[in-house]
C-alpha cells in the first residue's frame, strides 16, 4: 500500500487552520493562568456564552458573528473585571486561592453550562454567514473558508494581544505582575488594578473565540468541557504565559489532532490533547518553550 501523501498534506493544513483557532481559544487562559496565576477553568464556559450571543444576534438580525463578538468585547471585559473583583475579595485577599478558588471557578463553569441548557436546551445551534460552505482549492489542497476565516481572525487577535503585552505600559505591567508585585508597586502601578484589567482582557478574548467556535462547528452547552483539557494542554505545552509559545503549541496540537482523526477516526481525537497534557505534565512541566 502506498502512503496517502495527499491525505497527509491536507490533514496537516487542516490542523494548522484548527491550530490557529485553538490559539484564540487559549489566549485568554494564557493570560489568566499563565500570567496571573488564576486557574480559570471556567474559561471554556465563557467561550460557549460568546458562541450563544453570536448565535442569537446572527439568527435575529443576520449580523456577522465576528462583528457581533467585537461589539460584545466591552461587555465581556466588564464581566471579567467583576469576576476578578469577587475572586480577589473572597480568595486572593484571604490567601485561599488554591482549593476554594478552583472550586469557585468549577462552580461558575457548571452554573453557566446549566443555565445555557435551561435557556436553549441541548440542541446543536449554528450560525449563517457567506463564508460558511465554500472552499478555496489550491491544486490538491482544500482550504475550507469556514476554517480559514476563524484562523485569520484568531491570528489577528493574537497579534494585537502580543503588541498590547509587549508595547504598552499596561501590557508590560501585566507581564510584571506575574513576576514581582512589590516591584510593580514601586513603579507606581496598583497590582490589583493591573490584574483586574488583565483578567478583563482574558475574558474579553472569550467573546471572539466563542464566535469563531460557532462558525467552525455547531455548538451545544456542554461542548466547552472538551476544550478545558485542550486549552490547558496548549497553555502548559507553550510554557506558561508565553504568547508566541502558546501559538506554536496550538498549531502543534491542531496538527496532531487533525492527523489522528484523519487516520484513526474522530472518536480518538479528544484523547490526543489530554494524553499530551498528561505526558507534558509528567515529563516536561515547564513546557516546550518554558524558561
Amino acid at each position: 500500500m502506498d502512503f496517502p501523501f495527499e491525505l497527509l498534506v491536507n490533514a496537516i493544513i487542516a490542523g494548522l487552520l484548527l491550530g490557529g483557532f485553538y490559539a484564540a481559544v487559549t489566549a485568554g487562559v494564557s493570560i489568566s493562568f499563565g500570567m496571573l496565576d488564576i486557574v480559570n477553568i471556567a474559561h471554556p464556559a465563557f467561550i460557549i456564552l460568546g458562541s450563544y450571543i453570536a448565535y442569537i444576534v446572527n439568527i435575529s438580525y443576520g449580523i456577522d458573528p465576528i462583528v457581533v463578538s467585537i461589539v460584545m468585547l466591552p461587555a465581556f471585559y466588564a464581566l471579567g473585571t467583576c469576576i476578578y473583583q469577587v475572586y480577589y475579595v473572597s480568595f486572593e485577599k484571604r490567601g485561599q486561592e488554591s482549593l476554594r478558588g478552583l472550586a469557585f471557578f468549577f462552580g461558575l463553569l457548571f452554573v453557566t453550562e446549566v443555565m445555557l441548557i435551561l435557556v436553549f436546551g441541548v440542541d446543536y445551534r449554528y450560525v449563517e454567514a457567506s463564508y460558511i460552505g465554500p472552499s478555496l482549492h489550491l491544486g490538491s489542497i482544500d482550504l475550507p473558508l469556514r476554517m480559514l476565516v476563524p484562523c485569520v481572525t484568531a491570528l489577528v487577535l493574537f497579534g494585537l494581544l502580543h503588541l498590547l503585552v509587549t508595547h504598552t505600559f499596561t501590557g508590560r505591567a501585566i507581564m510584571a505582575v506575574s513576576q514581582d508585585q512589590l516591584a510593580l508597586q514601586l513603579m507606581a502601578a496598583d497590582p490589583i488594578r493591573i490584574k483586574r484589567i488583565a483578567f478583563g482582557i482574558s475574558i474579553a478574548t472569550a467573546s471572539v473565540a466563542g464566535a469563531l467556535l460557532v462558525i467552525i462547528q455547531p455548538v451545544e452547552p456542554s461542548v466547552g468541557r472538551e476544550y478545558i483539557g485542550r486549552v490547558f494542554a496548549i497553555c502548559v505545552l507553550g510554557g506558561l504565559g508565553s504568547l508566541p509559545g502558546t501559538l506554536v503549541a496550538a498549531m502543534l496540537l491542531g496538527v496532531m489532532e487533525s492527523i489522528t482523526s484523519t487516520f484513526y477516526g474522530p472518536s480518538w481525537s479528544p484523547a490526543v490533547s489530554f494524553g499530551f497534557l498528561l505526558l507534558t505534565l509528567a515529563f516536561r512541566p515547564a513546557g516546550l518553550f518554558g524558561r
Binding site: 488554591s98 494542554a233 472518536s267 498528561l278 505534565l281
Partner: protein
C-alpha cells in the same frame, strides 16, 4: 471514642436505618437512599485528598467510572459476586490513583487538578472506543429480582442498598481514623504549608501518594455496584459531570476539615437533589448544586460545620 467502638455505632445506626426503610415498605426509598449513600462514599473519599491535603480532584467521575467498568469487564468474563467486584474495583482505582499522583503530584496543586480533569476525558475516550465493555453503545447488566443471603430472601435493591451502606460506613470510619492519626496531621501540614512541611522533614510526596491511593480506591468501590443498580451502563452516565461536581460541592458545603462535613453535605445535598429531581427537573437540581457551591465558597468557606463552630465559639466567649 475508639475507632472500633465508632464503627460498631455506625453499623448499628446503619442497621436501624435499613430496618426503618424496610418497615416503611416503599421500594423507592432504597433507590433514592442508594444514591445518597453513594455520594457519602464519594464525598468522604474526595475529602481525604481535597479537604485534608488541599489537593483538588476534578476527576471523581473517572475513578467512579473505573469501578463501574471494572464490574462490566468481569461481568462479561464471569459474573462474580458483587463484594468481590468491589474489592477488585478498589484495587484497580487505587492503582490508577497512585499512578496519577506519581505523575503529577510533584508539581503545583493546580496542575494536579487540571490533570485529573484530563484523565477523566482520556479514560472516557478509551471506554468509548473499547467494544468489549460496550463502547459508546453501553452495556447491559442482568440482575436477579431477589437474592438469598444466609437463608433470607431479600429484594436486590435492598441488597445493593446494604452494600452501599457498608461502603459508606467504611469510608466514614477510614476518614475519621485518618484525621485522628499521625497520617492526618501529616496531611494537615501539607494543606497548610507544603514547603514548611517538607523543610521540617514531613515526607510530603509519600503522604500525598497515600492520600490519592486511598481516595481513588474508595471512589472506585462506590462505582463497582453501579452497573447492577442502573442495569444499563453507558460512558456518558458513568463519567457524568454530576459526580465530579457533587463530590466537590458536598464536602465544601458541609465543611472540609473533618469527617462530619462530607457526611452532612452528602446527606443534605443528596436528599435535596432527589427531591428536586422528582418535583422540578434534573437540570434545575444541577443548577442548585452549582449555585450552592459558588455561594458557600464565597460566603462560608468553612461550610456548615464551620458556621456551627463559629456560632459556638461566639457563644462561649460571651
Amino acid at each position: 471514642m475508639s475507632t472500633l467502638r465508632f464503627s460498631l455505632v455506625c453499623l448499628l445506626v446503619g442497621f436501624v436505618i435499613y430496618v426503618c426503610g424496610h418497615l416503611f415498605g416503599v421500594g423507592y426509598l432504597f433507590f433514592a437512599g442508594y444514591t445518597i449513600l453513594q455520594y457519602v462514599v464519594l464525598s468522604s473519599a474526595w475529602n481525604i485528598l481535597g479537604g485534608y491535603c488541599g489537593y483538588v480532584n476534578f476527576g471523581s467521575a473517572a475513578f467512579f467510572a473505573l469501578g463501574a467498568y471494572s464490574t462490566v469487564f468481569f461481568y462479561k468474563f464471569y459474573p462474580l459476586p458483587i463484594p468481590l467486584l468491589i474489592l477488585i474495583s478498589a484495587v484497580v482505582s487505587g492503582i490508577v490513583g497512585f499512578g496519577m499522583g506519581y505523575l503529577t503530584l510533584r508539581l503545583r496543586g493546580a496542575f494536579f487538578a487540571i490533570a485529573t480533569l484530563a484523565m477523566a476525558v482520556v479514560l472516557q475516550t478509551l471506554v468509548v472506543n473499547w467494544d468489549y465493555v460496550g463502547g459508546s453503545r453501553g452495556a447491559y447488566i442482568v440482575r436477579a429480582d431477589t437474592i438469598e443471603i444466609g437463608g433470607f430472601s431479600i429484594e436486590y435493591i435492598e441488597y445493593l442498598f446494604l452494600l452501599m451502606m457498608i461502603l459508606s460506613i467504611l469510608s466514614i470510619v477510614i476518614s475519621r481514623a485518618i484525621a485522628r492519626s499521625q497520617l492526618g496531621f501529616g496531611f494537615a501540614t501539607i494543606r497548610d504549608d507544603e514547603l514548611a512541611a517538607e523543610a521540617s522533614g514531613v515526607p510530603t510526596l509519600r503522604l500525598k501518594l497515600i492520600a490519592t491511593t486511598i481516595s481513588g480506591a474508595l471512589m472506585g468501590m462506590a462505582g463497582a455496584p453501579f452497573p447492577y443498580y442502573i442495569g444499563y451502563l453507558q460512558p456518558a452516565s458513568a463519567f457524568g459531570l454530576e459526580y465530579g461536581v457533587n463530590s466537590i460541592a458536598m464536602p465544601i458545603i458541609g465543611g472540609t476539615t473533618s469527617w462530619v462535613g462530607p457526611l452532612i453535605g452528602a446527606i443534605l445535598l443528596g436528599s435535596l437533589q432527589q427531591i428536586a429531581t422528582v418535583t422540578i427537573s434534573s437540570a434545575v437540581n444541577l443548577l442548585i448544586v452549582g449555585l450552592l457551591l459558588v455561594a458557600f465558597v464565597v460566603i462560608a468557606p468553612n461550610g456548615l460545620v464551620g458556621l456551627v463552630q463559629d456560632r459556638l465559639r461566639a457563644r462561649r466567649s460571651k
